[in-house]
Symmetry: C2
Subunit: 217 residues, 2 copies
Amino acid sequence: MQIAIGLYPGLTLLDAIGPYQVLSQVPGNELIVCAERTGRLTDDNGLIHFDIEHTFADAPRPDLLLVPGGFISRKLARDRDPIVDWIAEAHPHTTYTTSVCTGSLLLGAAGLLEGLDATTHWSAYDELATYGARPTEKRVVQQGRIWTAAGVSAGIDLALTLLAEIYGPEMSQAVQLGIEYDPQPPFDAGSPSKAPADVLELVRAVSAEKEAAILGQ
Amino acid sequence: MQIAIGLYPGLTLLDAIGPYQVLSQVPGNELIVCAERTGRLTDDNGLIHFDIEHTFADAPRPDLLLVPGGFISRKLARDRDPIVDWIAEAHPHTTYTTSVCTGSLLLGAAGLLEGLDATTHWSAYDELATYGARPTEKRVVQQGRIWTAAGVSAGIDLALTLLAEIYGPEMSQAVQLGIEYDPQPPFDAGSPSKAPADVLELVRAVSAEKEAAILGQ
């Protein structure tokens, strides 16, 4: 099976690398990391640069398509960035079309989420609804062959759930053990309903600031 | 504070990107991603290429030093790769010297783990012991200012634990919420003691094969 992970400048790195680490452990697949252009592509912190070898044109019909999120994906979705066209053209032929975090806004802009349950980063539920989706707080939302994951780190759970669906529980467990994914965060604050109220307010304010700065560019 | 994440060709990507995503969310720090050489650096799958801007010489005295693991790190540790010298020379001046997965073998080769509790990927406990460390199965092991994390995904927990130590619980919780780290893997198979026996045997065999192929290079 061909797996294509579509990137863009300004992505949030863990959104892509979490599922990449999981999906790349399965032997026998072709995994393509692609973007609109080859060459240098920088993350949302401006600190890590990829040297991209493949364009979207190299993966027009992947079996599994995955797009990460990032603060800029709201803007890319509104402006119908070329990644949106890639998704729209590839989707009729995929077995699974998937997103992590605000990557679901790109699926939405491609017209894929109309009338479906879907998820995204918790700060973007309202934006997701503008694409006709019904935002849900589940970590991984499966609607036929369209799967969306919650924010950033949820891509790891998405990818392990995909492996269980495609290959069965043993493959998913084997990869989970291989990446020693036995999560033990020091706090239980990873969702809006679990975090202390003041922490939620703080993160909401910082997120809104970052988003405004990027959308104002 | 200056944070330096030291990379090398053949690293396992999530080892580095998990903690990178956490540590980069804290405002006001300088975060440097460095390697022996600038330019192209490829991960252990041969599929993702970084364009590296900084060498170890650009970060001789970071406050927080972090090294990821990878199958090749066993070889780098035995051959005393330049990253080992960087660690050995920087460590006397750091506030925290830290590793993810088999990155701890590089700390070991730098002479840092003699007589200390430490951890690594579960498949490398024996190798870790050859550097005088006492391997433990804990997810994050703190010994003074030397902190080691278990395999691959444990770097996320390491980094969140570091934030709690350095900045207090609110910062750690805020970043956890920001990356929506509310883990929900479909199975509970992420450590040798939790995975089914046949899955453990399978992964052990695949790991040994991969390691042999790399050490034979």
